[in-house]
C-alpha cells in the first residue's frame, strides 16, 4: 500500500463547505431514476406468491394451472433455485429466505413466483398456483420462543456457546458473553442497585422506496441487473453464487436509492427476478409492494433485555450486567451479540458482563437497521443509568460524565479505547442551552448516550480527467446520503480545483473493482480515502505531463492550487500550468490522465453521541409530543456539514418513530396486522420538531482528513432519551418500546 492514511492536520478550501448535491435537482424534479424506473423492451412483470401462514410445511406446489394461463412466461419455485451454496450456511439461509424450500417460516415467506406479460395476468397466475401446506404451530415472541415448550423452527439447531453441548434442539441458536472483572464483587461494593427488564418491539427501516429490480438474463448466460441496493457488488456476488454464474458475467447497476438503512444490504427478490428471467428468456421487472416490504424484507430484532447496574454513593458505577435476547427471524444471526457488545460501551467499568441470546421466531429474517442492535441495548442501559442517577440523587449528565469511558478505558466488549468522543459529547450536552431551558406542565426532559463501531472496508475509486479539464469520479459505494457531493468536495480539495469541475457517479460492477457495501457508516469514510488516493495518483501523472511539457525532471514539479509549478529559481520564467491546460494537451503528452485507487479503508474509529429531548405527555390520553430535540455527535471532520446534519437528524427522526409508535403487530394467527404505512406509524413531518444538531470534530487519526463515519450512531440514543423524557414527564418508568399512547396511558393508570 503506497498510501498513507494518517491524519495530516491540513487546512481546507472545499471540504467543510455546503454546495448543492449533484443528484439534488433530479431528485426534487422527479427525473432521478430509482429501482422501479428502469425499463427494458419486452420486459415481463414478476410477482411473488407468499405464505399466508407463520409456519407451515410445504407438502406440494402445483404450478400447472398457472403455467397454462395465457400471458404467463415463467413460473418458478425453489426447484428452480437449486442449492449451490456448497456448505455455506449463511448463503443457504439467504437462498431459503428468497424462496422457501421445505417449510414456510413466516407470514410472507416466498414460495413461488411468476413472470407474465402484465401485472393483472401475473396476479391471476398467483391465484392459480396451488400450495398444499401443513400448518404448524408458530411462535413470534422472543421470550416465548426461548421456552422449552415453544414450537421449534429448526430441529437441527442446538444452542452454540453453552458450557455443555445441549442434547435437545432449541430456538436459541447461540449464547455469547462479553465483559471483564467480577460482577459479584462489583455489586458487593454498590450502595445502590437498579434492576429492570425492558422490551422493544420489532421495527422496520421504513425506507420509502420499496425493493425493485429489473433482471435480464441472456441466452449466453450473461446477465444484467438494475437494482436499488446499498451494495451492488455484494448483490452481484450473492446473486452469482445463488444462480451458479460467474460474477463477471453478471453486471449490476445500482439505481438511486430511496432509503436503505441496512435493509438493502441483503438480497430478497433479486435472485428470484434473475431466475424468472433465466426461465422466461425475457427481462423481468420485480417491484415489491409495501405489504411485501413489511412482511418479507428484513426488519430489526424484537428484544427482551434485563439490566442490573450498581453504584456507590459517590456516583461511581461498580458493576453492570445485562442479558439480551434478540429475535433473528427464522435464521441464525448475531444480533444479540452486537447488542451485548455495545450495551455498556459508553462507560468505564471495572466489572461488567453481558450475555446475548440469538432467538429464532416466525418473523421475517432480521437485517441490519442503522447501528443494528445498539439502540435497543442503549434503551435498556440508559434507562437504568438514569434511574440509578436519580436514586443516588445525582444529575443524570454529571453521573454519566463521572462514569464515561475515556482513552485507556477497557471497553465492555474487550479492547482498550484510544482517543474517543463520549466525554466531549457529554460536556457539550451539559453546556447546551437546551439543558437549561424551562419546562412546562406535563413536560419532561431526557438525555442519553449512544455508541457505534463504524466500519471501513474494501474500496475502489477511479478519477478521470477529461480533455476539457473537468473531472469525473467513479465510485463504488452507493450514495445513500449525499456522498457524491462529499466525495466531489474531497476530489476538488486534493486537486485544488472547484467543486463544480467534479462530477461523481456510482459506477456499475463491470466498470470498477469490488467495493464493500455502503454500510457501517463507511460510505464517505472509505470512498473519501480512496478518492484522496486516486487524486494523488492523478496528480503524479499531471506533474509528469507538466514535466514533459517543460522538459524538466518530474521531481522539480510540484502541485499547488490546481496548477503544476516548476520548483526553483532556475525555472523562474515558466508560467504555472493549470489542470485544464495539462488536460488539453494530454493527447500529445501520453494520453488520458486518470488516477485509480484500490484499498482497504480501515481504522474507522468508534463513534459516540449524546441526545437531549423534551416531551409533553397528555396524561389523560397518553399522547406525546416531541417539543425539542438536540443531537451532539462527533464527526471527526464534517466533509459536507449539511449532510452530516442530515444524518444526525435522520437518525433522530427514525429513533423518535421507533420510540413512540412504530411496531410490528402480529395477530394470534402469526400474521402481520399492519403491513403498511397507515398502521405502521413512522413520524410524519408535523410529528417532529426541528432537530437541532451540534457537530463535534475530533479528528480520526486513521484518515487523512480526520473523517469518521456519521450515519448510524445517531439512531442509538433516541429510544433511551425519549424513554427518559417520557418517564420524567409522567413520573413512571417506561420499560416497553414503542411508548404508544395505550402503553403510556396504561402505565399512568397502573401507577394511580
Amino acid at each position: 500500500m503506497n498510501f498513507d492514511p494518517r491524519y495530516s492536520g491540513r487546512s481546507f478550501t472545499s471540504v467543510g463547505t455546503r454546495p448543492i448535491r449533484p443528484d439534488g435537482v433530479d431528485k426534487v424534479t422527479g427525473r432521478a431514476r430509482y429501482g422501479a424506473d428502469f425499463n427494458m423492451a419486452g420486459q415481463l412483470v414478476g410477482r411473488v406468491l407468499r405464505s399466508p401462514h407463520a409456519h407451515a410445511k410445504i407438502r406440494k406446489i402445483d404450478t400447472s394451472k398457472a403455467e397454462k394461463l395465457a400471458g404467463v412466461k415463467a413460473v418458478i419455485t425453489a426447484a428452480d433455485l437449486p442449492d449451490l451454496t456448497d456448505g455455506d450456511a449463511a448463503m443457504y439461509d439467504i437462498l431459503d429466505n428468497c424462496m422457501a424450500r421445505t417449510k414456510a417460516l413466516y407470514d410472507g415467506h416466498a414460495v413461488a413466483a411468476v413472470a407474465a406479460v402484465d401485472a393483472r395476468t401475473a396476479r391471476q397466475a398467483l391465484k392459480l398456483i396451488e400450495v398444499d401446506y401443513e400448518v404448524l404451530p408458530h411462535v413470534v415472541d422472543v421470550d416465548e420462543a426461548m421456552k422449552h415448550t415453544a414450537p421449534l423452527l429448526n430441529d437441527a439447531i442446538f444452542t452454540e456457546g453453552l458450557e455443555e453441548k445441549p442434547v435437545k434442539p432449541s430456538n436459541v441458536t447461540k449464547r455469547t458473553q462479553y465483559g471483564h472483572g467480577d460482577i459479584h464483587e462489583g455489586f458487593g461494593q454498590a450502595d445502590f442497585v437498579v434492576e429492570r427488564s425492558f422490551k422493544t418491539e420489532q421495527t422496520h427501516q421504513g425506507y420509502i422506496e420499496p425493493h425493485a429490480c429489473v433482471a435480464s438474463v441472456s441466452s449466453d448466460g450473461t446477465a444484467d441487473l438494475w437494482v436499488c441496493t446499498q451494495g451492488h457488488f455484494v448483490y452481484r456476488q450473492h446473486c452469482a453464487q445463488l444462480l451458479g454464474m460467474e460474477a463477471s458475467k453478471l453486471r449490476v447497476t445500482s439505481s438511486e436509492i430511496g432509503g436503505g438503512f441496512g435493509g438493502k444490504t441483503h438480497v430478497w427478490a433479486e435472485p428470484v427476478a434473475l431466475a424468472l428471467s433465466r426461465k422466461a428468456g425475457r427481462p423481468v421487472k420485480l417491484v415489491m409492494t409495501r405489504d411485501e416490504v413489511f412482511r418479507a424484507s428484513g426488519p430489526t430484532s424484537a428484544t427482551s433485555i434485563d439490566v442490573r447496574i450498581g453504584a456507590r454513593k459517590d456516583g461511581t458505577i461498580t458493576a453492570a450486567e445485562a442479558t439480551l435476547r434478540y429475535s433473528c427471524g427464522p435464521y441464525a444471526g448475531m444480533w444479540a451479540e452486537i447488542g451485548a457488545m455495545t450495551a455498556f460501551a459508553c462507560y468505564k467499568l471495572d466489572n461488567v458482563r453481558t450475555v446475548g441470546y440469538e432467538v429464532l421466531v416466525n418473523r421475517p429474517k432480521t437485517a441490519a437497521y442503522r447501528a443494528p442492535s445498539a439502540p435497543m441495548a442503549a434503551f435498556a442501559v440508559e434507562s437504568a443509568v438514569d434511574e440509578l442517577a436519580k436514586e443516588i440523587g445525582m444529575d443524570p449528565v454529571e453521573f454519566r460524565i463521572r462514569n464515561a469511558a475515556q482513552e485507556g478505558t477497557r471497553s465492555s466488549y474487550g479492547p482498550v479505547y484510544g482517543p474517543i468522543g463520549i466525554g466531549p459529547t457529554l460536556e457539550a450536552a451539559k453546556n447546551h442551552p437546551h439543558m437549561k431551558a424551562p419546562l412546562g406542565k406535563n413536560q419532561g426532559r431526557g438525555m442519553a448516550c449512544g455508541f457505534w463501531f463504524n466500519f471501513g472496508g474494501q474500496t475502489c475509486t477511479d478519477l478521470n480527467i477529461g480533455m476539457d479539464g473537468s473531472v469525473s469520479l467513479a465510485v463504488g459505494t452507493v450514495d445513500v446520503g449525499g456522498s457524491r457531493a462529499s466525495l466531489s468536495l474531497v476530489a476538488a480539495e486534493e486537486l485544488g480545483i472547484d467543486y463544480g469541475q467534479v462530477k461523481a457517479v456510482v459506477a456499475d460492477t463491470s466498470s470498477l473493482g469490488y467495493n464493500d457495501m455502503t454500510d457501517g457508516s463507511r460510505g464517505t469514510f472509505s470512498s473519501s480515502m480512496a478518492t484522496i488516493s486516486a487524486a494523488r495518483n492523478a496528480i503524479k501523472t499531471l506533474r509528469d505531463r507538466a514535466a514533459q511539457t517543460w522538459d524538466i525532471p518530474i521531481d522539480d514539479v510540484v502541485w499547488e492550487k490546481g496548477h503544476a509549478i516548476a520548483k526553483g529559481e532556475k525555472y523562474g520564467n515558466l508560467a504555472a500550468l493549470s489542470l485544464k491546460e495539462i488536460a488539453a494537451a494530454s493527447g500529445k503528452t501520453g494520453g488520458p490522465i486518470a488516477g485509480h485507487s484500490e484499498l482497504v479503508a480501515d481504522g474507522a474509529g468508534v463513534s459516540f453521541a449524546t441526545h437531549i429531548c423534551d416531551i409533553e405527555v397528555d396524561p389523560e390520553t397518553g399522547s406525546t409530543r416531541v417539543l425539542r430535540y438536540t443531537v451532539v455527535q462527533d464527526a471527526g471532520k464534517a466533509v459536507h456539514p449539511t449532510y452530516v446534519e442530515g444524518q444526525y437528524q435522520g437518525g433522530a427522526a427514525q429513533g423518535i418513530g421507533w420510540a413512540l409508535n412504530e411496531e410490528y403487530i402480529y395477530g394470534k394467527d402469526g400474521r402481520l396486522q399492519n403491513p403498511g404505512f397507515l398502521d405502521y406509524r413512522i413520524p410524519v413531518c408535523s410529528d417532529l420538531p426541528m432537530i437541532d444538531t451540534q457537530i463535534l470534530e475530533i479528528p480520526n487519526p486513521n484518515h487523512p482528513y480526520g473523517v469518521r463515519g456519521v450515519g448510524e450512531t445517531s439512531i442509538v440514543p433516541p429510544l433511551a432519551a425519549i424513554a427518559n423524557a417520557v418517564s420524567n414527564a409522567v413520573g413512571v418508568r417506561m420499560t416497553h418500546i414503542p411508548m404508544s399512547p395505550p402503553r403510556i396511558l396504561a402505565a399512568i393508570e397502573a401507577e394511580r
Binding site: G262, I338, M341, P415, V600
Partner: protein, 103 residues
C-alpha cells in the same frame, strides 16, 4: 508492481518493529476462546495481521473456519476488518472480535 519510490515511502511508515516478527499477546472474545481450547489469551509471534491469522490457524485449527469467514482485529482499540498488512506494533493491545454487520 509498486514503483520503487512508493515502496520506500510505505516502508518509512512501517511500525517501530521494522518488519521483525515479535511475540504479541492476543485476546480472544468468548466464543472464539472456546475454539482455541478454552484459552482467552494466546501468545503468537507475528508482525502483521496476515501472519497472525496464519499462525493462529496453524496452532489452533479450530479457529480456521472463523478466520476464513472473517474476524476483526482491534489494535489499541481501533478495529481492522480487512487489512492483512496492518502491523502489530510492539506492546500494542491486540484483540480479536467477531466481524459485525452494519446498516
Amino acid at each position: 508492481m509498486m514503483p520503487k519510490s512508493a515502496q520506500r515511502f510505505s516502508d518509512k511508515h512501517h511500525g517501530p518493529n521494522e518488519g521483525l516478527a515479535l511475540m504479541v499477546e492476543v485476546t480472544l472474545w468468548g466464543s472464539l476462546g472456546a475454539l482455541a481450547g478454552g484459552k482467552s489469551k494466546v501468545e503468537i509471534e507475528a508482525k502483521d495481521i496476515r501472519e497472525l491469522f496464519r499462525k493462529l490457524a496453524e496452532q489452533y485449527p479450530g479457529l480456521e473456519p472463523l478466520i476464513e469467514k472473517g474476524i476483526a482485529v482491534a489494535i489499541d482499540g481501533t478495529i481492522y476488518r480487512d487489512t492483512w498488512s496492518k502491523e502489530l506494533p510492539q506492546g500494542a493491545e491486540i484483540f480479536l472480535l467477531p466481524r459485525l454487520a452494519g446498516g
